[in-house]
């Protein structure tokens, strides 16, 4: 596997792989995200307690899960970058950070807009909400630490260490609803026994999660390309690429 994977550490190969993958991701992201949203908003039955306000779940839960998923991916990239000295891994890390930050913001915002009608408040300083807010600050910390170094190799290392240390927060977010008394409900699908959601509601939720994941992946692919270009603007292969694009 390493033999197969290793060439993609080279920026030019990574760029070309992105170029080939992007259209597939854009199309599948568009289809699954739209399907998830339409199904969730129009066809899923309304909740017997929460009425139609529960439909916020179709954006809240995917963004909350994937805010953590994106953080794991970012931390893994940082780890690969630090251990094997792979420049492309740091580029992947910093390409992911703003996506994760936006998705964390969405999770917090939709949570607040759901909390207002259901809990009677936009915000409480409870364990789940606070740890998710810390996740947002971790993302912002990684982004600003990376931006504050002129030498991007140094920047990658510093921000990478921060990203890896921040992984501590992930189990805290996940188990916060069990460890502390909280207003937030427990997990309904990310647990090992059968999910406690009716299939009519669960299917659109799973598709929404897939849809948002693919949307994020498509944005990530494009952002990684941009990051590679930005770092290698004067390399011959980029020059040739642009000349070729212009010729068309």
């Amino acid at each position: 596997m390493w033999k197969w994977l290793h060439p993609y550490a080279k920026t030019q190969n990574a760029y070309q792989l992105c170029e080939r993958l992007l259209p597939w991701f854009v199309v599948s992201a568009f289809i699954s995200f739209t399907l998830g949203m339409v199904w969730g908003l129009l066809f899923a039955p309304s909740d017997y307690q929460q009425g139609d306000s529960f439909r916020i779940i179709y954006i809240h839960v995917p963004s909350a899960i994937l805010s953590m998923g994106a953080y794991s991916a970012m931390a893994i990239s940082a780890f690969i970058g630090l251990v094997w000295q792979v420049r492309t891994a740091f580029m992947a890390m910093i390409a992911l950070a703003p996506i994760g930050a936006v998705v964390t913001f969405i999770a917090l915002f939709t949570g607040a807009a759901w909390g207002k009608p259901m809990w009677g408040t936009w915000w409480v300083w409870d364990a789940r909400l606070t740890s998710e807010l810390i996740l947002l600050f971790l993302y912002l910390g990684v982004i600003s630490l990376y931006a504050s170094f002129e030498d991007k190799q140094q920047a990658g290392k510093a921000a990478g260490v921060m990203a890896i240390v921040g992984v501590v927060n992930l189990p805290i977010i996940h188990f916060s609803v069990e460890w502390w008394n909280t207003l937030h409900q427990g997990a309904s699908i990310t647990k090992f026994d059968k999910p406690s959601v009716a299939p009519d509601m669960l299917w659109p939720l799973l598709i929404s999660i897939l849809g948002l994941a693919l949307v994020m992946a498509a944005i990530f692919i494009r952002r990684l390309q941009n990051e590679i270009l930005r770092r290698e603007l004067h390399r011959p292969w980029v020059q040739a690429l642009v000349a070729e694009a212009k010729g068309k």
């Binding site: 899923a44 009425g51 916020i56 944005i219």
Partner: protein
């Protein structure tokens, strides 16, 4: 379909404001992110193109300058020398 009419769909059983606020802000945020990613690539490509055009202009200016010098040089010591060499 869970809703009887379009207005019922918009109303969301009285929770319309919260539901549409959530979905609206989320889509807007993702849209900005996607748009920015797409735009950045164009910006970078344009920067490289501009740099290339500049290099070509510099090269063209240089070669035209040298070719002018060369041509005046070869004109100045034109045929006589060649004929000398032939002899």
């Amino acid at each position: 379909m869970q809703f009887e009419s379009f207005s019922a769909f918009v109303d969301m059983g009285g929770y319309g404001f919260y539901v549409w606020l959530s979905f609206g802000v989320s889509l807007l945020a993702l849209g900005i992110l996607a748009f920015d990613a797409a735009r950045q690539k164009k910006v970078l490509f344009n920067a490289v193109e501009k740099e290339q055009a500049r290099k070509i202009r510099i090269k063209a200016a240089k070669t035209s300058a040298t070719s002018q010098v060369k041509s005046s040089y070869s004109e100045a010591q034109a045929s006589p020398r060649n004929e000398e060499m032939k002899q």
